[in-house]
Symmetry: C2
Subunit: 139 residues, 2 copies
DNA sequence: ATTTGTGCAAATCGTTTGCATCTGA
DNA sequence: TCAGATGCAAACGATTTGCACAAAT
């Protein structure tokens, strides 16, 4: 069935990234990548895993998210606040952040463009430019 | 002397913002605003206060920073990482973030400009746009 | 006098770490 | 076999909170 098919894909993805496809990693990867782009916190992913009958410790969820990030399968989103979000979309793109319900969503298409990026200071190079558009519910 | 002059200015600033000019708040405001624009963490401000012989508890530093922020005297800078930075420059401007030494600095002038800001999703309005340019030391 | 702010210590939250135990190649 | 992964619980750092005390109007 479809289930096994997806597992194999995920395993290959992990192997390609140089990560052993363990039970937990495969399960987490499936949760992450089987529903389009997501912006998820460690805690929420942990809950989803439990709900899906995949017992994983929170520590392992953190380890896994960081490994995926280093392997280029995820991207950390720098939003203010204490929580860290991981984005399954690693392409160059920007984010809306909804104050209040603390949700992160992608800016569709290339809705932002920058003209005149400033020069990096002496001896520095630009790693990435993050744009976060803070939103509030209109009342 | 100059010292008292500055105190009065700061007291007025606080009163105008609707905050009682208490000993601690005046002292913290002086530290914040007497040396040009700063990007400072609660912990560092606390240390500076101690060093300046103004005993303030860390809790009060946090309270004060948040009150100043609500009053529009400060702006929280959304950089990833656990620590929160407060910026004494509340104008519209963007930031460099130096990975490694976790420093935040202002992008000078209006070195960045955005064309085509995306529309806010239905029922939402844009509060602010934060741009963080991540830098790494060139090797 | 009344309201508002402060200090302290304990509590909380998200995240990381140490280490003994398991598991996949 | 055995390097590498996992789970657990304890450790951690930053921030917050509750409450008795102190200071500002």
């Amino acid at each position: 069935m479809r289930e096994m098919q997806r597992q194999r894909e995920v395993q290959d993805m992990l192997r390609t990234a140089g990560l052993r496809p363990t039970r937990q990693r495969v399960a987490l990867a499936e949760l992450l990548y089987s529903r389009g782009n997501r912006h998820i916190s460690a805690e929420l992913l942990h809950e989803e895993a439990e709900a899906a009958d995949v017992p994983v410790s929170l520590a392992t969820v953190y380890n896994t998210l960081h490994q995926f990030t280093e392997a280029g399968l995820l991207r950390e989103v720098a939003v203010e606040g204490t929580k860290t979000y991981f984005d399954t979309n690693t392409d160059d793109h920007h984010h809306f952040f909804i104050e209040g319900d603390n949700r992160v969503i992608d800016v569709p298409g290339s809705g932002v463009s920058m003209t005149r990026l400033p020069e990096a200071p002496e001896g520095m190079e630009i790693v990435r430019v993050d744009v976060v558009i803070r939103l509030r519910r209109k009342d």
